[in-house]
Amino acid sequence: MWTNSARPVLVLGLGNPIMGDDGVGIVALEQFRERFEVSEGVELMDGGTWGMNLLPYIESAGKLLLVDAIRAGLEPGADVFLDGPDLPRVLGQKLSAHQVDIVDVLTLAQVRGTLPATTVALGVEPSTIEMRASMTPAVDRGAARLPERMARQLREWGIRVSPRTPAHA
């Protein structure tokens, strides 16, 4: 395994904000954007439910941080963390609300030899996934914890993450 420092770190929010708890990754990404500034070479992307179209973005990344609703059989709102070489395999067991896409995309990246050397998935166990523009309270609280978790993960990768100065400070 090797990493090329020229390849950016991609923080990829997945999900659909008009599908209730499914939107947790997108909501968290927006909150992260508001609260933190990151050093150059880190790309924040709202991947929605774009499926195969995400492949080129994933392939261009040196490190990949997925933020998503992940079904792991825990209490709704619980924090979920997945990493390591097992990740595609674990996702393959249909844990994530988007694995049908993301596991196919990761597999194809594998065939092409372009899978990011490091991939971590941060998520929250969803409760209700149905068409509505808000999340359940437990997942809302899970979403509120995510930006801090994302910042911690990025710092572990040696990325400078600094809180934005509040507008009225």
Binding site: N16, P17, I18, M19, D22, D46, G47, G48, T49, W50, G51, M52, N53, L55, P56, Y57, R71, G73, G92, Q93, K94, L95, S96, A97, H98, Q99, V100, D101, V103, D104, T107, L108, Q110, V111, R112, I129, E130, M131, R132, A133
Partner: protein
């Protein structure tokens, strides 16, 4: 002989939530049911919102079709408020939507549909030198050496040997319905991989005009794309040059890879020109106006209806004749189950009456799907590329006539072969060729207008809600990659009071109506449709995928069970 029941759930290779049930007898399908197993309720989410924000919600209806739902929404609101968008905005929307169509069709063909026709395992036994000879004989595309194809073959071999076929695991490799020689299979597999690189370069066009992707910015009244040739923060000369490069790249791949591949592959599957026709009625709302969205005579893909496979006549389309029924659907109407409602009167009140999940069979139920049944003047209608090519052909649209004739001649099949599964595959490719040509035309017009000093992309006359009438209603048409799309909006006191969408897959996946007439998927599966091995329903996949279903519509929830994307239960 006993009937065999076949269930395929979910059927889409990547997007989810379509369920097909079929009965087969003696190797043929006798009857079929199509069910969408997930409720969508965008209508209720829209109520009370600012109509100027509607597009930002509707573009999330489908994770892949973001552009079309956003534009249809803008058009509905513009229609309601009497807003005419500037010519530049029409041209930019054409370019954005055109590139979406091209990219979507290529991805659909190579990444979702090709494996129904191409046996990836067979490609492993191909002679790369012969593949190279075939490639050179059908196209000037440069990646055509024996070394190149050997390399591709080795990559897939390594992968297959590791037991990691992944996305390819679910194929019915070795099924007798696969007819391509190993060398053509290898050619297609190589292009499957190449298409992945191509798509990322061309779709950046959305980022240039819409600021970002996959959810570009749109704007009621035009486009949010500021133009100034000399300003680095706007669409300037350098970015326009990027757009030109993407158009060239898109067109070249379509002309030199996709189009020759489809013709080569179709040549081995001509029998599919007599399979899977279905309703025989085709509807288009038309698309790609020249400079004024409301100038329907200028639509590059004409609007209209072909009935009963009769290409001698095109009937006019009138959106007020679109009505939705719920006889077979899990909803209730205040006027009862037999009512059918125009979207402006539309109601979306779910009422599930099906069996508890997991389902064994839905086909014995009177109601079996979350899809309503849209009907045009009481008739089931197929929408999509085939409808566009047939309506255009019947209407005498010159480019369409020419390319359809070219394909029929090359395959040596009669026009009747168009009413089929193969017809859909061919039509999708033909219209991609045509749209790729038009991109250059729209781009040329846009650049000429800018050079003449017209940089206007937004009409703000009616931006302020105080300029709106107390009540208004509008219809936004759009012929999307997957077919005719309609958004209907009603506005009261500056807020949305009612919103209804009839999406292409609702037309095509619609269930039986009040009269018992099946929808297009169902009818296609009952039209001379083989099914050799019920436990490997490859033929069902071919026909359903030929419609390019997009049932997921932004929903990718998983069931807890299962390790296969295509799940087949047989009894």
């Amino acid at each position: 002989m006993a009937k065999t029941k076949v269930v395929v759930d979910p059927i889409t290779r990547i997007e989810g939530h379509l369920r097909i049930e079929a009965q087969s007898e003696n190797g043929m399908i006798s009857t079929a049911w199509a069910s969408s197993t997930q409720f969508r309720g965008i209508e209720t989410i829209m109520q009370g919102r600012d109509p100027r924000d509607a597009w930002a919600f509707t573009q999330r209806i489908c994770g892949v079709c973001t552009v079309v739902h956003a534009v249809a929404s803008c058009r509905a609101v513009e229609d309601a408020l009497g807003i005419t968008i500037p010519p530049n905005a029409t041209l930019i929307r054409n370019l954005v939507h055109g590139m979406q169509t091209i990219q979507d069709h290529v991805i659909h063909f190579y990444h979702l549909h090709a494996l129904d026709w191409v046996d990836i395992i067979s490609a492993l036994s191909a002679d790369p030198a012969k593949t190279s000879a075939i490639a050179k004989s059908i196209s000037p595309w440069p990646n055509n050496s024996a070394t190149y194809f050997a390399e591709v073959q080795n990559r897939v071999k390594t992968f297959a040997a590791g037991g990691q076929l992944g996305i390819f695991t679910n194929g019915y490799w070795g099924h007798p319905a696969y007819k391509l020689p190993p060398e053509v299979n290898l050619l297609a597999v190589a292009h499957y991989l190449e298409a992945l690189d191509w798509q990322k370069d061309v779709i950046r066009l959305h980022t240039i005009f819409g600021g970002k992707n996959p959810h570009p910015n749109f704007l009621v009244g035009g486009m949010a794309s500021a133009i100034n040739l000399n300003d680095t923060a706007t669409i300037n000369a350098a970015r326009l040059a990027d757009v030109q490069a993407m158009i060239t790249r898109a067109k070249r791949f379509v002309d030199e890879v996709y189009w020759p591949d489809v013709q080569a592959i179709a040549g081995f599957y001509k029998d599919w020109g007599a399979i899977g026709g279905g309703t025989g009625n085709y509807l288009t709302v038309g698309e790609f106006a020249s400079v004024d969205t409301n100038d329907l005579d200028s639509l590059y893909f004409p609007r209209g209806i072909v009935m009963n496979r009769d290409l001698s006549k095109v009937y006019p389309y009138d959106h007020t004749l679109v009505k939705e029924g719920i006889t077979s659907s899990w909803y209730e109407y205040s006027g009862g189950d037999a009512a059918s409602l125009h979207p402006w009167e539309g109601e979306t009140v779910p009422k599930y009456t099906g069996p508890p999940t997991p389902w064994t069979y839905l086909q014995d139920e009177k109601k079996y799907t979350w899809m309503k049944s849209p009907r045009y003047d009481g008739r089931a209608m197929e929408v999509g590329p085939l409808a566009r090519m047939l309506v255009g052909y019947a209407a005498g649209q010159k480019d369409i006539k020419e390319i359809v004739t070219e394909l029929l001649t090359r395959l040596d099949v009669p026009p009747a072969a168009l009413f089929s599964t193969l017809g859909r595959v061919g039509a999708r490719c033909m219209e991609t060729v045509l749209v790729a040509n038009q991109m250059q035309n729209w781009y040329g017009q846009l650049v000429a207008r800018i050079k003449n000093g017209d940089t206007k992309t937004f009409n703000g006359d009616k931006w302020d809600p105080s300029s709106w009438p107390k009540t208004a209603q509008g219809y936004g048409y759009l012929d999307a990659a997957r077919g005719a799309l309609g958004h209907w909006v009603q506005i009261e006191d500056g807020k949305i009071s009612r919103y209804q969408c009839v999406v292409p897959s609702t037309w095509n996946c619609s269930p039986r109506d009040e009269a018992g007439v099946p929808g297009p998927y169902e009818a296609a599966l009952m039209d001379h449709h083989p099914l050799l091995r019920p436990e490997q329903p490859l033929e069902i996949l071919r026909t359903i995928h030929s419609f390019d279903p997009c049932m997921s519509c932004g929903v990718h929830v998983l069931d807890a069970d299962g390790h296969s994307v295509v799940e087949v239960k047989v009894q």
